[in-house]
C-alpha cells in the first residue's frame, strides 16, 4: 500500500483540495499507472456535491484517465512498462453475472466497481479516481491507446466517448441514417463526431443558435434550433435515431415528434426525472425511449480503436490541478469547449 497525493473533496459540496490517499500494492493481475492526464466529467461534480445521494467521502473524482504503465503484476499479459493506457468509469465487476459474461460490465448485476466511490476489493475502502498521481487497476479494466492519437485529447473518450459511441452501435446507426444529437456539450460533441464517422446525416439539435457554426465544424450536416417551432415541424417524423445528451430535466415530447415510426431516442445525459411524456407520441408510430450507460470494457477498446482508425479525439482545454474549482464552475455554466483535461504533472509539482 502506498500513500500518494490526490485532489478531492472531504464533505458534501466542498472545494477540491490536496488530500493524501492510499493505493493498493500491485497484485498479480494489476497494472500500476502514473496518471498523466485526467478529464473532468460533469458527473465528477455531481459526486463531489452528492447530487445522487451515493457519494462516499473523501471523494477523489476522475474517470477519464490517461497514463503510463510504471509497473505490472507477475501475471499481467496485456501491458508492459511505458505503455500508454487508459482507465474509464469501471475498475472491476463481479465477472460472473449474465451482463459481465456479455461484456457489459457497466450493467453488472452485482454492481460494477466504479473508478471512484466504489469498493476496492482488496483495500475495502472506497476507490479513488484519477485526480491523483497514480492508480492501480486490474489489467482487464485497462485500455490500450492507439498510438496515432493526440494523447491528452483521448482522456474524455473514456467516458464522454464511450457513452455516445455505445448507443450508436447498439441501435445500429449506419451510413445514410438521419441522426439527431440533442445538446452540444462534452457528450454531444462526441456524438456528432461518431455519428459523422459512421456516415450518418447528422443534425445537431440545440436551443442555442450560436452553437451552429461549431456544430458544423465538429461534423454536423445541419443544425436544428429546437425553439424554432416551424423548423421542428418541418422535420417531424424524419429521424432514424436521436441521441439525447441534455444533462438536466427537460421536455422530450418535441423530440419524440421528430422520430420516424419504430425509431428510438436514447437518453445518455440526464439522470433524473424528466418532464411528463405524452404516451400518445410513443403509441402513434411505435416509438421508443431508452437509456444507455457508458459501455463495457470490450466495447470501450473497440471505440478507442475506431477513434484510432478515424483519427477522432475530444476537443479539450488543458488546465492545471490547482484550477479545478474554477473549471467546475465553468462546466456548470457550460463554458468549456468541450472538455477540461487536467495536466497531472501540475499535481506532482505542487
Amino acid at each position: 500500500m502506498s500513500e500518494i497525493k490526490a485532489y478531492g473533496a472531504e464533505v458534501v459540496g466542498a472545494s477540491l483540495k490536496e488530500i493524501a490517499i492510499k493505493r493498493r500494492d500491485v497484485l498479480a493481475k494489476d497494472v500500476k499507472i502514473k496518471i498523466i492526464y485526467c478529464g473532468i466529467c460533469h458527473s465528477d461534480i455531481h459526486f463531489v456535491n452528492n447530487d445522487w445521494g451515493m457519494s462516499v467521502y473523501p471523494v477523489i473524482p476522475g474517470h477519464e484517465i490517461i497514463g503510463k504503465v510504471v509497473e505490472v503484476g507477475k501475471e499481467v499479459t496485456k501491458f508492459k512498462k511505458d505503455d500508454w493506457v487508459g482507465v474509464g468509469c469501471l475498475v472491476d465487476s463481479c465477472r460472473t453475472c449474465a451482463s459481465c459474461k456479455d461484456h457489459l460490465e457497466q450493467y453488472c448485476e452485482n454492481g460494477f466497481v466504479g473508478t471512484y466511490g466504489g469498493t476496492d476489493k482488496y483495500l475495502g475502502g472506497p476507490t479513488f479516481g484519477g485526480y491523483s498521481e497514480m492508480i492501480v487497476v486490474d489489467e482487464d479494466f485497462v485500455l490500450s491507446i492507439p498510438e496515432n492519437l493526440d494523447i491528452k485529447a483521448v482522456a474524455p473518450l473514456l467516458c464522454a466517448g464511450i457513452t455516445t459511441y455505445s448507443p450508436l452501435m447498439h441501435w445500429k446507426v449506419k451510413k445514410g441514417d438521419k441522426v439527431g444529437v440533442i445538446g452540444l456539450g462534452g457528450l454531444g460533441h462526441m456524438g456528432i463526431k461518431f455519428a459523422h464517422a459512421l456516415g450518418a446525416h447528422v443534425v445537431m439539435i440545440t436551443t442555442s443558435p450560436e452553437k451552429a457554426q461549431d456544430a458544423k465544424k465538429l461534423g454536423a450536416d445541419e443544425v436544428l434550433i429546437s425553439k424554432d417551432e416551424k423548423a421542428m415541424e418541418a422535420q417531424m417524423g424524419t429521424f432514424d435515431f436521436l441521441l439525447n445528451t441534455v444533462p438536466v430535466r427537460h421536455d422530450i415530447n418535441p423530440y419524440l415528434m421528430l422520430l420516424k415510426r419504430d425509431a428510438t431516442m436514447v437518453m445518455v445525459g440526464a439522470i433524473e426525472p424528466i418532464d411528463p411524456v405524452h404516451s400518445g407520441l410513443l403509441v402513434l408510430g411505435r416509438k421508443t425511449v431508452a437509456g444507455s450507460l457508458i459501455g463495457g470494457i470490450k466495447e470501450t477498446q473497440e471505440m478507442l480503436d475506431f477513434c484510432g482508425k478515424h483519427n477522432i479525439v475530444s476537443d479539450v482545454e488543458m488546465i492545471n490541478m490547482q484550477d479545478v474549482n474554477q473549471a467546475y464552475k465553468r462546466v456548470q455554466s457550460s463554458d468549456v469547449k468541450y472538455r477540461f483535461v487536467i495536466e497531472m504533472d501540475s499535481l506532482r509539482q505542487s
Copy 2:
C-alpha cells in the same frame, strides 16, 4: 346510398340515442355487412366525450364489428354472401406510404381512415362505426373469422385483441419469457390470454388483490400486487417484457424497476401524459419504454387465425343497444368482465 338506423351522440358528451345515418352504395371492391355484434371499447367513450379533441359529430362509435356478408361488389374475391366477417379500427388507408407497404396501415403516414370519425373517401362525410345495422367496407379491410370460435366473443378481438397481440409479436415474446401484464381490463385480459398461449410465464400486475383469482383463470401464472412494495422489490430486474394496459395517467417508474437489462415496457392503454419517468431507470440497464397502436390488417388476420388455433376469445357480457348508456357508465367504473358486446338485433327490433 342507403339510410339506416344507428346509435350515437350528436354533441359532446351526449347520451347515445337512435340516429339515422347514410352508408355508401356497394362499390366494386366493397363488402356490405349486416352487423350482428359490436364490442364497446373505452375509446368509444373517449370519442363520444371528445376527450382527444378530434371527434366529429354525430359520432357513431363501434370498431369491434362482427357481421354477415349480405352483398359483395363485382371485383370482390375474398368474401361471399353469408360469410362471417369482422371489421376493426381501420376501414382504409393511403396504401402507398412506407407504413402501408409494410402492412402497418395503423401507422399510415397520410392518416388511416378510422372506422368512425374518419373521412369516407366516397361520401366525403365522417365514417360511422358499428353501433348500426349495417356497414360497407373495402374488402381489404375486412377480416375472416375462424369458424370454431364463439362468434359473439370474437368482436373484442378486433381492437382489444390486436392491440395486445401486436406488441407481443413485435417484441418477439416467446416460450419461457417472463411477461408482466399491467392492468386487468379489456386489454389486460386479452394480454394474459395471448402471453399464456405463447408459452410465456405470465404475471398479472395489478393494484387490486381481488383480481387475483380471475387473473389465474385467464392464464396468469402469478399475480403481483403493485402496491405491495416488498413483493415488487422481490421481482426487480426479472421481467423480459411488460405490457402496460393501464388506461389512465399513472407512475410507470415502479414497473421500469421490474425489467431486466435490455427489456421493454410497451404502453398500449394510456394516451395521455404519464407521470415523470426517472431516466436513471432507463439508463441503468439500457431499458426501453415504447408504445404500440392496434395492428395492421395482415397482422389482425394472423391474430384471428392464432385465436382459432388456440381457441381464444374475449370474455364478454352481452347487452342490448338500448342499454349502451348504462354500459358506458359501467366501463368507466371498470365494472365489466371484460368487454361489453352489443346484440345488434336489438337495434333492428327497436
